[in-house]
């Protein structure tokens, strides 16, 4: 974990989302420091993806603040960003990796273009350099460079997910949101992806928020965990402490329900 400054990168307080009478999440709060990976864990329906969607602006929060310290030193509340500012944030500072890579990729253009167009969006113009960097990123996510001109349609599920990761990381974001990044992949593909993510996060000093229901994934990737149930935080702390000595009845149930391989 890289040393961050003396201020959290993201400070979330009182984050609440109501869908009419139904509760999405209630009064969620946490700090995320530079270089830190935070895991949001809980069963389906616990509200963890709702938290992520509020932060990404995919859905509007009902209440709360999420103060993010931009690279230029200004602080913005990402829950109240106007659309152009939000788009700029995702172009320059944040990345988002969806569970279904088809949500994060453009399926109609080549693998190389999927990576390269992100660079062009932040101002890169030199074709050779863009192609060179795209090739380099495909190699980093273990996609053979000779697939650069192929359409994503021709890729396997694991390759698509790795391509989505390359598309997100090529612009060196400071914070990446990931929603079940290994969901839907078979175990051997998962292990490869996890190892890759683990290395990239450490090497780039990325901060990340990872939503997962898989506690093994959380243990491998996250420094800290927030455990959610029915929209609320039941427990948070160091990853190994939460998993090895869970305090809350619900966390104990989650941990004890995992079948050993």
């Amino acid at each position: 974990m890289a040393d961050g400054g003396d201020r959290p990168l993201l400070r979330v307080r009182g984050l609440t989302k109501r869908y009419g009478l139904r509760l999405g999440c209630l009064d969620v709060g946490f700090d995320l420091w530079p270089g830190e990976v935070l895991g949001l864990v809980g069963e389906s329906g616990s509200g963890k993806t709702t938290v992520l969607n509020c932060l990404s602006g995919r859905i509007g929060a009902t209440a709360g603040v999420a103060e993010y310290g931009m690279g230029d030193g200004t602080v913005v509340d990402v829950l109240r960003l106007a659309e152009p500012a939000r788009r700029r944030l995702f172009r320059v500072e944040w990345g988002i990796v969806y569970q279904n890579p088809r949500d994060g990729l453009r399926m109609g253009v080549s693998a190389g273009a999927n990576v390269g167009e992100r660079l062009m969006a932040v101002g890169a113009r030199h074709y050779g350099r863009i192609r060179g960097e795209a090739t380099d990123w495909l190699r980093q996510v273990e996609i053979a460079p000779d697939r650069i001109d192929d359409l994503p349609e021709t890729f396997s599920g694991g390759m698509l997910q790795r391509l989505q990761i390359a598309r997100n990381l090529v612009t060196r974001p400071r914070l990446v949101l990931m929603d079940e990044p290994t969901g839907g992949l078979d175990m051997s593909v998962q292990a490869r992806l996890l190892d890759l993510l683990r290395g990239l996060v450490a090497d780039l000093g990325l901060a990340a928020i990872i939503v997962t229901h898989d506690l093994a994934v959380a243990r491998l990737l996250a420094h800290r965990l927030v455990v959610m149930r029915a929209g609320e935080t039941v427990e948070s702390g160091l990853t190994d402490q939460v998993l090895d000595d869970p305090q809350h009845a619900y966390t104990q149930l989650l941990v004890s329900s995992v079948l050993p391989p």
Partner: protein
């Protein structure tokens, strides 16, 4: 207690409440107090199941203390692990605390030499130097060179344990927590581990651990202690 102590535990209490099993409460540590100074190797000698590993895990911040203080020297100051923010605990672990657990948590696909070099890398040691130190440590612990580039997933229990030991001893941590470091090792490896512990002591590390084997205990301990004697009357 001494103001030189590198570990100072005061009135530590730890009770497990098993919510999933009808809320059974298991008190394990009852007001335990102890101190370990630099250059000391304090070995706990209670029988299995009496809470020695629990104490080590609490000092590492892996288990939550219900009451008491767990002061650990971190640079020029003492940090209370029992109340510290997760971020500070990670920082204390990275720089000041080495912990040899009884099991290696294997990461798929990462070669043994990188597993061993990782803590050094996290301290900013350049890759080449970290790998060089990792290789030397694996060599001292008798892991054959042909295994260094493989993931420890397929290693035997004793080999995994030696990777675990190498990972911690490759860094000169000022404080070491050792939970049965020699339990699953053959005699040649045990000799190597005894030598590593003695070297650490000589350079001034404060060591707290558990060792069942009486000969090894005699070879490394500067003081033995029971949890029973460390509990408040």
């Amino acid at each position: 207690m001494s103001d030189r102590a590198a570990i100072e535990v005061r009135d530590l209490e730890k009770t497990f409440t098993l919510h999933v099993q009808g809320g059974v409460r298991l008190p394990v540590l009852r007001r335990v107090s102890l101190a370990v100074c630099p250059g000391e190797c304090v070995v706990l000698t209670d029988p299995s199941g009496s809470g020695k590993s629990t104490l080590l895990r609490a000092v590492y911040g892996n288990y939550v203390a219900q009451a008491g203080r767990i002061l650990v020297r971190h640079g020029a100051r003492m940090v209370d692990i029992a109340g510290a923010e997760p971020r500070l605990v990670l920082e204390v672990r990275r720089q000041s605390l080495g912990y040899v657990s009884q099991f290696l948590r294997v990461i798929p696909r990462v070669p043994a030499v990188d597993v061993v070099a990782e803590p050094l890398r996290s301290l900013g040691t350049p890759r080449a130097e970290a790998v060089e130190r990792a290789r030397r440590m694996l060599e001292r612990l008798g892991i054959p060179e042909r295994l260094w580039s493989l993931s420890p997933v397929t290693f035997s229990g004793g080999e995994q344990q030696r990777v675990n030991i190498a990972r911690v001893f490759a860094v000169d941590y000022p404080i070491l927590l050792l939970d049965e470091p020699t339990a699953s090792l053959d005699s040649a490896s045990r000799v190597a581990v005894v030598e590593l512990i003695r070297e650490a002591r000589r350079r001034g590390a404060a060591i707290l651990g558990t060792v069942h084997d009486a000969d090894i205990r005699a070879a490394v301990a500067t003081r033995v202690l029971t949890l029973a004697s460390a509990e408040a009357a």
